[in-house]
């Protein structure tokens, strides 16, 4: 199929406003009488609150409301699994947990009042890593876990491992017994922050009709509405989430964070209440990517055939689990393998600890899982004396086979993608001393979901897309305009976007995430555009006597093919005295029938005197369907790779004894352009995919293979294996000296 507008690199519609400052973010919204809120956070990882005295704070200048745990008894919130308390209930479970909250006329007054709150604590033994948390006799962080709404499977007895999923195939013990060689490795990965520019923030107001009006940079506004409704037992129709731009998401802007406490403060004070997290608070309590420990064990035949493959992943969930959409972290499991093995066992546990709670970040679970799995694959290949490329090619799944966690897909292009990456990277070409190349793979299918969308053609000639999606920075609105422009067809620049708030009466919308936008919303835009066109042609038939089959839509006009007569369609609508609205409710809920593979090759130079790694080149190959907007697609690839470089070499939220050791971006480092080498992209284009244009997702895949490709390249360069992220110069230096 060839298209006119779909597939073109048309510029993003949201760019200009972001550069000029016109774009309205949550913190720009101010209502008359707005109060500012701040919260007092726990200085202990695990402690009993023995006394809170807020009397001085209540009398402080400008203070309108002071709340403690006693004002939020029995309330639990979360995205779907609900285990988070609005304010600590007699016990704090992590350093940074909210203990009390203040709303005051000014931010300064709120801050001053916090200093007047007195809290006494009695420290409790803390559990600070998932392994310790699973030990017998470890303090149980949530004794009431079985009563929490949304817990996927009831636990036999309260345990810190509140989610445990296992996939098995064959007989793993027999598999290892039949192997010629068994290789085991343990990997650890740290927490990393999404590093979006806009911290979590919100404004909550209970209006004159007793409705809860919310402004929040949440990419799943309908989900936020449902979470609030469930937490506070308020009817959903009493809640409205108003549209705002999202100042960066990277997966992290889907959960309620400040909204519940602001709601309670608004209720108490009768005023709109606003809260903007400081970045210091983001780092100590912002729901970063989970830290994890992963154990892998693989049995192979001498010829390199994988016989048995086992992975046990333990995600450090921190003190609460509700910041993720589901209690389960699917991605980490599927990182267990795109390789064939007759016998397999993959298990993933999410474990409570007294650390900062983990949340959601780009490709949740996958960077952790693929770092471990793809590093491990190289270790196995090296033990066998096989080239890691050949070892992968021998074992990668092919058409008709399923992944170790049961993912079944058509048109599998794992090997083709890997070969394309190796070729473009010159994988086999000679290398200088201390230069190495490493490979890693990833795969992921586009996410599913629901969306409602309308396209209106109006008598004033405007074309308006009404969507409940909030632009979160990936260019969704641009894609929607391309589709409407393609299908009508008309000039994409003339299409306006109108954002429907959660009052618009549309069905639940899954929002943005998991590369679902391009799949689900594209389908909706396609259907709505076609429906609008169909109805307009029907109107033309009625009013002009042009048979539908003889009429085409062209920009601002309808054209009667036979007579070549033109009629501006807005005239027609004026005559009819109404707009035409094409509507679609797209429920595209099924597990994707396709997946997309990524293969990357990192080339590094290691300075053996300091351990410093110079990433010299990173080649990334992606198996794609149709590409809606090449510039946007490449932007996702480059951005993902850069974030992957940060994960591999630079970023981590150091947490010691429960204390996060970074307070600002002067300490929490992310890559800048100077850290990024030449990036090469290879697209292995195909014609299979999902949705009307047959697309695959690109938002997630680029990030996951970067860290293992770098780790593998480092071993290729200097013979040391780093099993703990980020790979710092010091770790390499130490490993080289230990040899």
């Amino acid at each position: 199929m060839s298209y006119q507008i779909v597939g073109q690199s048309i510029p993003r519609t949201d760019n200009t406003g972001k550069v000029t400052g016109d774009t309205r973010y949550t913190s720009d919204v101010l209502l008359p009488g707005t109060l500012w809120a701040k919260t007092l956070r726990s200085p202990y990882a695990h402690a009993q609150i023995t006394r809170i005295d807020t009397s001085r704070a209540e009398k402080a200048p400008g203070v309108r409301a002071v709340l403690t745990g006693a004002d939020a008894r029995g309330i639990l919130y979360g995205r779907r699994y609900r285990d988070i308390t609005v304010l600590a209930q007699d016990r704090v479970r992590f350093m940074g947990e909210r203990v009390a909250a203040v709303a005051a006329d000014t931010l300064e007054e709120a801050e001053e009042a916090l200093e007047l709150i007195e809290v006494n604590y009695q420290e409790l033994p803390a559990v600070l890593d998932p392994v310790a948390a699973l030990q017998e006799g470890a303090p149980i962080i949530h004794p009431d876990v079985n009563s929490y709404p949304g817990l996927p499977k009831p636990l036999e007895s309260p345990s810190n491992a509140f989610v445990r999923d296992v996939w098995t195939r064959g007989d793993i013990a027999e598999g290892f017994a039949r192997s010629d060689l068994v290789v085991e490795n343990t990997f650890t990965v740290p927490r990393v922050h999404q590093a979006f520019l806009e911290p979590h923030c919100c404004l909550v107001w209970i209006d004159d009709q007793n409705r809860v009006q919310m402004w929040s940079p949440n990419k799943v506004p309908h989900g936020l509405k449902e979470s609030m409704s469930a937490a506070f037992a308020i009817p959903a129709e009493r809640i409205r989430v108003n549209p705002v731009a999202i100042g960066g998401d990277f997966g992290g802007k889907g959960a309620p964070v400040d909204e519940p406490i602001c709601y309670l403060l608004a209720l108490r004070s009768g005023r709109p209440v606003k809260m903007v997290m400081e970045y210091r608070e983001e780092f100590v309590a912002g729901a970063p990517r989970h830290a994890a420990l992963l154990q892998l064990k693989t049995g192979v035949k001498k010829d390199g055939t994988i016989v048995a493959h086992e992975m046990d992943a333990y995600l450090d969930s921190g003190a609460y689990g509700g910041f993720r959409p589901g209690a389960v972290v699917g991605g980490i499991a599927h990182a267990g393998g795109c390789y064939r093995a007759q016998h397999a066992r993959i298990s993933v546990s999410r474990v409570y600890t007294n650390n900062i709670p983990g949340g959601q970040m780009r490709a949740p679970g996958e960077p952790q899982g693929f770092f471990a799995a793809e590093s491990h694959m190289d270790c196995v290949a090296r033990k066998l004396g096989m080239d890691p490329l050949d070892f992968r090619l021998k074992n990668l799944i092919e058409e008709g086979e399923s992944t170790l966690t049961g993912g079944h897909y058509r048109a599998i292009k794992a090997k083709e993608t890997l070969k394309a990456a190796a070729k473009a990277a010159g994988y086999d070409t000679p290398k200088a001393r201390n230069v190495g190349r490493g490979i890693a793979m990833g795969y992921r299918g586009p996410g599913a979901g629901n969306t409602s969308l309308k396209i209106a053609l109006n008598p004033d000639g405007s074309v308006v897309i009404q969507t409940s999606l909030f632009e979160q920075g990936t260019g969704t609105y641009t894609t929607l305009r391309q589709i409407a422009a393609e299908e009508l067809p008309c000039d994409p620049d003339e299409i306006q976007i109108e954002i429907l708030d959660t009052d618009a009466g549309v069905a639940f919308d899954s929002g943005i995430g998991g590369s679902r936008g391009t799949r689900v919303a594209s389908g909706a835009a396609f259907q709505a555009a076609r429906a609008a066109k169909e109805e307009l042609l029907g109107l033309a038939e009625k009013l002009l006597g042009w048979p539908k089959t003889e009429t085409v839509f062209m920009g601002r006009d309808l054209i009667h093919k036979k007579t070549r007569k033109r009629q501006p369609w807005d005239d027609l609508l004026s005559r009819a005295g109404r707009s035409i609205v094409g509507e679609s409710v797209n429920r595209d809920d099924d597990h994707s029938p396709v997946t997309a593979f990524a293969a990357q090759v990192a080339e590094v130079f290691v300075d053996t005197e300091t351990g410093e790694v110079k990433l010299r080149c990173l080649t990334t190959a992606h198996d794609t369907g149709a590409i809606m907007n090449p510039v946007g697609h490449q932007g996702q690839i480059d951005g993902g790779v850069v974030q992957g470089v940060g994960y591999g070499l630079i970023e981590h939220l150091p947490v010691q004894e429960g204390r996060v050791g970074t307070a600002h971006f002067g300490e929490y480092k992310i890559p800048t352009v100077k850290d990024i080498p030449e990036l090469k992209t290879v697209l292995v284009k195909g014609d299979d995919g999902v949705g009307p244009y047959k697309t695959k997702g690109i938002g997630e895949n680029p990030i996951s293979p970067v860290a293992p490709a770098i780790a593998n390249a480092i071993e290729d360069a200097v013979g040391v294996r780093i099993r703990d992220l980020p790979i710092t110069a010091e770790k390499i230096y130490a490993a080289m000296r230990e040899r």
């Binding site: 410093e612 600002h664 710092t728 110069a729």
Partner: protein, 293 residues
């Protein structure tokens, strides 16, 4: 967090600034580019009641050549140093240090004086002023004085300045014309503070022996260090790979780095040794290239 409440003062001359400092004593802080001070105020580690902004004082921002010296006003921005032809020509290591600081935003606002007075143990300018034997010109109610770089840094984040004293100028004597220098830095990520840094200026005599030498290092201790032991090791000798290794050993033995997110003390020692050896080799290479051209 936002800074605690403060009063903003904006003197238009050095003497006015000094009067204000005198008036408010420990309650006041000078504001240069704000690149260190403002973040500290936001974290409320610094809580000055009075902020004396010295931006408006016009005679604090200049780069001048004068009587065999380069004189830089304390308010000279990192970016101006980075882009100065005069400095690139005469003391390239100062350009190299300036361009290794932070990112473009920090270099646009941050100042030479602020960087030196902040005295961050991992800051870049300290090593350079020590290697080049620069002098710090300061003014206080008691008049003017010049503090040699070697006496300037007293402890982490602390200098020999009195609380009512302003650093007005940094004076860099021209290095010998037969000498060349370099500043090298090892960092976790581009624009971060140094894990280790070394500034080395080497002059070569007729016979190819080291006739003059200045060495400053950062990351060796709580303050930047003038590596006197390395200087006397190299002085008057032909610099061979063995001698360079010996210098590396010396610096490593004497170093007592602070352990932080950038590395353990033991790693930082080794990294410093590697960076210093490289800096010696590079300035030697540059000096030789100068001699043969």
């Amino acid at each position: 967090m936002y800074p605690a409440v403060f009063e903003y003062l904006k003197p238009s001359s050095i003497s006015e600034a000094i009067t204000l400092l005198q008036q408010h004593g420990e309650d006041a802080k000078l504001l240069a580019g704000g690149q260190s001070l403002v973040p500290m105020m936001k974290l409320r580690i610094a809580r000055p009641r009075y902020l004396i902004d010295i931006h408006r004082i016009s005679d604090l921002n200049y780069i001048r050549e004068q009587a065999g010296q380069i004189r830089c006003g304390a308010m000279t921005r990192h970016v101006q140093i980075e882009e100065s032809e005069l400095i690139r020509d005469r003391v390239p290591m100062l350009c190299e240090a300036a361009s290794a600081i932070g990112d473009a935003q920090v270099r646009n606002r941050g100042t030479l004086g602020g960087g030196l007075v902040e005295a961050d143990p991992s800051g870049d300018y300290g090593a350079v002023v020590l290697a080049l034997n620069a002098q710090m010109k300061c003014i206080s109610p008691r008049g003017e004085r010049v503090i040699p770089a070697a006496d300037f840094f007293t402890f982490a984040y602390t200098t020999a300045l009195e609380s009512d004293e302003i650093l007005t100028e940094v004076i860099f004597p021209f290095p010998d014309s037969n000498s060349a220098g370099v500043y090298l830095k090892l960092e976790r990520v581009a624009g971060d503070f140094a894990i280790a840094g070394a500034a080395v200026q080497i002059g070569l005599g007729q016979n190819g022996v080291c006739s003059t030498v200045g060495v400053g290092v950062t990351g060796a201790a709580t303050i930047p260090q003038k590596a006197v032991s390395v200087e006397s090791l190299l002085q008057g000798k032909k610099i061979t790979p063995q001698l360079i290794d010996e210098a590396g050993r010396l610096i490593q033995e004497g170093a007592e780095p602070i352990e932080d997110t950038r590395g353990s003390a033991s790693y930082k020692k080794k990294a410093l040794s590697a960076i210093l050896r490289r800096a010696i080799a590079e300035s030697l290479r540059r000096a030789e290239a100068k001699r043969s051209s």
